[in-house]
Symmetry: D2
Subunit: 308 residues, 4 copies
């Protein structure tokens, strides 16, 4: 069962890999324990941070099975079913239900860009095939197509949809989403980019699906709580640390893979899991790893002092 709305931090799990098509199962278990102990409200697997589209379907199924097993029902498991192929989305959805997952999440099909009427019809066709509650995932920089506000509004009445995760980075759009909550108070609106988690909660959003929570779950959980309880001084101090993570840890590499590489590298340094990356990406080499080590040491000290 998944609460409605779902509040708090739902980290988009990195996918621990020990080889191109081999799950680092022990690393996954450590990661799940770390996150649940860190106070997160759910686990989101097979998203962008989880390198979802880069994983083979076999590995996606294995990842679902193990995550559900390790979570033991302590927090809900949300499974990304974003795919360019409708049938494969449904296949993964059914596997997720069988494995005991709690909800499904999908961004628009992301090869040939569809128009909004096509996207709306797609969701209408997808919903009857899904065995679990469903969340929209807005990620236009990667899918080319947005769930425009009017499209979200057209879907607002469907009880099978429980909310939306917005990774557009467009705070005006997020405000527009939140204003729709008047008509659907049980809906969940979650923020992707962690730099906007504070803004999101102050705007009436329910929480964050923030990559950095893989590494520092307590920081993001604490920021969410401070913001929600109106403790602005503490919220601002914690937000400043989140900005530090963003500025220092995510900008070591030049390409858009830098965020995931930085997170996996730091988790590997922490002994949580392997930092193998699915193709076409590769783990940081020595020089970059050393920079991550430095950055990580500084961040850990500051964050430990702030998060009590």
């Amino acid at each position: 069962m998944i609460p409605s709305p779902l509040t708090g931090i739902v980290p988009p799990l990195v996918t621990p890999l020990s080889d191109r098509d081999t799950l680092d199962v022990a690393g996954l278990e450590r990661l799940v324990e770390r996150l649940i102990n860190g106070g997160v409200s759910g686990l989101f697997i097979i998203g962008t941070t989880g390198e979802g589209p880069s994983l083979s379907y076999r590995l996606r199924r294995e990842l679902i099975d193990h995550t559900c097993k390790f979570a033991k029902g302590r927090v809900p498991v949300l499974v990304g079913i974003t795919d360019t192929a409708f049938v494969e989305s449904v296949n993964i959805a059914k596997h997720a239900a069988d494995a005991g997952a709690d909800a499904l999440v999908a961004a628009p099909p992301y090869y040939l860009p569809e128009g909004q009427p096509e996207l709306l019809e797609y969701i209408h066709h997808l919903l009857p095939e899904l065995p679990l509650p469903f969340y929209l995932y807005n990620m236009p920089s990667l899918t080319k197509v947005s769930f425009e506000v009017d499209t979200v509004h057209a879907l607002l009445d469907d009880p099978r949809i429980h909310g939306i995760k917005d990774s557009s980075g467009n705070m005006t759009y997020f405000h527009r989403l939140c204003r729709q909550l008047v008509d659907r108070p049980d809906w969940t609106v979650l923020m992707g980019p962690e730099e906007l988690l504070l803004d999101a909660v102050l705007a009436g959003g329910h929480g964050g699906v923030n990559g950095g929570a893989n590494l520092f779950p307590q920081l993001y959980v604490a920021l969410h709580r401070a913001a929600q309880s109106g403790d602005m001084a503490r919220a601002r101090a914690l937000h400043a640390l989140v900005m530090d993570v963003s500025t220092n840890l995510y900008q070591v590499g030049r390409h858009s893979s830098a965020i995931i590489k930085g997170l996996k590298c730091a988790l590997s340094i922490e002994g949580v899991c392997d930092d193998f990356m699915a193709e076409p990406f590769h783990r940081f080499r020595d020089e970059q790893r050393r920079r991550i080590e430095q950055v990580l040491a500084e961040l850990k000290e500051k964050i430990a002092a702030a998060v009590q």
Copy 2:
């Protein structure tokens, strides 16, 4: 066996479907016969026009099997293995080799955009896993990432790569590709957008992978021959007809799916195959179908008169 270079028209086959996950096998057979009888130099399946990313893996395998069977070795079969997941690309590649296909084609992984060094390393890792000759596929409007000229140049020495299909629509880029042929005279450079087929052949390119050749194979084959033989008057007349197809047949719908919808609709009117579209797209409804019927009748008459 695939000739080097591969010259002429290699249509990117539409994928005949009779339902969401059901291949229209009889339609595929008619389509293959029509194309081979039309004088094409090869068959390219599971590309953009073939709605490749929208097809389940099961259906992709079935499509490969049937196409190879129907082609009977009369022309080479090229199979698209573009995928966000490395392992799935390799799986399809192996299936294609087992089924008797002749070559493989891949665009860059198309979810999280990779930098050029990452893309280069990806190709270096992919090549040893591939059992068949390989073509690059440049499609930046859909993959977000281009095979930049320097990246192509860095791959030019590898004998496993036989050429490139360029669907960027950027004729300056295409000229740059063609200039690399000095160093690799056996390479093939093919043009995607049919509006640029004449330009491509005049620039030294070898042919086209043009969607319209599904419908009017003789037109594109004739244009290629006229251009290659320097019969500019005939080439210009045929090019004008290709522009007519582009302007009239591909602009009935508003979205980027309009080209494939128009082609499938016309093929259905012609009795070749079903016009079912894979999700998230849908066949043209009545009003648009009637417009396609009109356009098609006019085009057929003009093209029949020109192509003798």
Copy 3:
């Protein structure tokens, strides 16, 4: 004299026109009075909302002269000098100083996009020519070029620069700007898009340069005060009204000119000034004007009730 930092609402004035090259002087006077009476902290002329680039240089000078005269030193006047031609920016800057303006504002030259080193050198060359305090203006959607965070940082030591107005709509960027205030506590960071005014103040920004303040200055001033004083309940209620203005008043037309057209149309209905638009734009015609009338009536009632 301009305070450092400059806090509150600094509306980007629409430019009242009665013909293609004729200033509506009486309308300008009414607008200036309305804004100063509404509690604004400054007047920004010749910006994007002011159709600055569409105005002849003669008219820009006339506009500067009249605005300074009407303001009578009650609030500072900031003058946009954004231009593709360096010399013309300097000419306007000198005219502004002679007319008694208080500060200058410039976005990057906006035809051929410059690299960040080129932009930095441009600002270094511009500053010695300017007779008044200077603000950067970040507007990448229109200038193609952003003042990247590192570029802003490189300019942070220069006492001639007093701050930045950010109209990127990118709240993560705004947070990065605000974090630089540690090193320059007298700097001003202002938010352009009014939908983000609340976020901006909560993030540590000093205020807003919001188009809607032309029409409802009290609303934006009240929102700024509520947010700054930590009265979150009131801030949220006022922010909701700002979102109503944005959603209803700015989306009557289809093109990017819809915001300015909507504002000028509403100001004309209110009897403040003429709604003539500089080419290539044109005032709303009858049907759209009627929709603005409806929207305006509803908004006025709600806003009057909220802003006491």
Copy 4:
């Protein structure tokens, strides 16, 4: 008088400057002589290559006066009047007519992007104010707005418009333009990017407005003639040299200013004119100048051998 259509090469002149606001008059005279002696069909000033938007209005007028004086009626002078301010476009147009120029050229206003109906209305309002024949200038990468094919078609009947220069680099668009010539055989369609000059002439276009013709007018004139006369072997050889200019001379710097910087640097090395650049750009410094020297020496030798 300007021929209809205008065929051949119409170089977009660089603007020789000896300081921020000082025309290098002697350099301009040498440049004009060099181009007319090189066989060009016209001179286009105050375009993108001429750094038009970066020049003060005073300097633009001086440039018009001197160019018309130096041209002495031997070839037509076309004057760019592109501007964000309608009135300034008209002012420059009138000055050009008074100075004896032959035609005017304008791209869409390039700050706030206008919709196609707004653009069409803008041209309808501009035309009655213009004292000379007019050419459209399509440059969407810099103006954000394209003259879409339907918009061009809606303007095709107006006798005051003599043609269009297309710098989109989109060869499919260019083909669409050329197909409109059926309805207006006196229209001129010119290609901006020199890499596509050969394609353009083969497609039925009339010539090129190519930056490289500032430096090597004979090369572009010879290529145009070879292509027009159907001497494909010679055309291909000359096109290869144009590609060499593009690849080697225009890619020394990293930013979009690299083309103009490279051209001005080479012209300065050749002793034609000063290489001062209008802000926000700056001439190449020593290291880049040395690379241009090398490249130039190689190109001159090859081009001299080919162009007889």
